[in-house]
Subunit: 221 residues, 2 copies
Amino acid sequence: MMKKLSKAEENYLKTVYHLSEAGKKNVSTNEIALAINTKPASVSDMLKKLSDKQVISYIKYYGVSLSELGSKMALHIIRRHRLWEVFLVEKLNFSWDEVHEVAEELEHVNAPLLIQRLDEFLGYPKFDPHGDPIPDEFGDLKTRPRVKLSDVPLGNAGKIVAVNDSSAAFLKYLDKVGIYIGAKIEAVDKIEFDGSQELVLDNHKKIFISKEVGANIMVLL
Amino acid sequence: MMKKLSKAEENYLKTVYHLSEAGKKNVSTNEIALAINTKPASVSDMLKKLSDKQVISYIKYYGVSLSELGSKMALHIIRRHRLWEVFLVEKLNFSWDEVHEVAEELEHVNAPLLIQRLDEFLGYPKFDPHGDPIPDEFGDLKTRPRVKLSDVPLGNAGKIVAVNDSSAAFLKYLDKVGIYIGAKIEAVDKIEFDGSQELVLDNHKKIFISKEVGANIMVLL
DNA sequence: ATATTTTTTTAGACAAATCTAAATACTATA
DNA sequence: TATAGTATTTAGATTTGTCTAAAAAAATAT
């Protein structure tokens, strides 16, 4: 039924999924090329193939979106990726900035029994170490209402539930400042000059973050 | 230094290692083709490439053997494979006949930190679920003196330490009979007619096995 | 609305890994 | 030793995924 895709095809599918999540609409050839560090011509070629396989809907010059089938397959890849991330952090003591590249490889091992057993072994986690939801075996995912930390009104407090940037550089910075998934955060002040914020972490630690950082941290109020 | 090989190249290397271990030092093109279910012409092509990369020593029409470098690389692949097998059996509750295909995929994820941490997580196991030794990070492996069960002299007892055939069919048969790695086994009688054996398992269970089965079970006396 | 710029697609080439069919080299036998 | 029979290699084709260069379509600016 759901025939196996190659590693390259899986990566394209995943990329289209992430880009259409972020922007909510049709994804352009150039966007994809940029995201996976390849040339637009290569993207065109691949989109044609994925379209033939019915996993995307593709109209020349107008961009691309996932089909129902493609969406489901993308969510399965993401499920594998995020389960492995949980495994790496919780069982193998990786730090949250080290897991991404390794999970990029592990996600392509497509063995349903493996993933099912891994899920069980990990205690059916609902979120990965970066706070992103893990799709279940049917491709459904649990979402939490979230706002950007930069949008939290002054005086309000919430819990950090996710980050929008998983680069090692960003995550290492967060470690240094003391920010982690699950931390309590209170918006104390906003500096007009540059949009930076003054915050209180876990009721006692006063920290300052830039507007850019605040826009990449998601909070549950 | 040790540049990365493709999945296909890794599989060839591993195959040459296993075939040269199981008997002669030079491995033939046809043997390899048979082992990895491909055509001799494809093998010739690949051997040329592997020879260019200095991982095998290859003389046309005379067969191949691994170079020092190739040997080391093969042992690293085998290390990854066997560590994953231990993980699958001990942590994810796979049975020993289910692990091979999955480990075949996982072994190609080449991330040194991952394997190092996995090894640690598993408690630095020295043998995989089939009793085969796991090479350490330098490619060295612990060997146990072993004899074929079919060669155990009458009246002697030993411990089952490995199997030479990891096919699901064989392993399922062993489960059915009650044979497992670590079991105590005593050679009670040998039937002249067909070479089959009468054995006592764990001091109490009388079983009979064929000559073929006995030749694929290894015992530590 | 026309011209210019940007984006996207096509055309043609290449490397990896495979295949079939044909040629060549070893081996065994009469 | 000549020859029939395997084993192995080469030649040429195919598929997948990529690339560069050039053409075509869409977007933007004048």
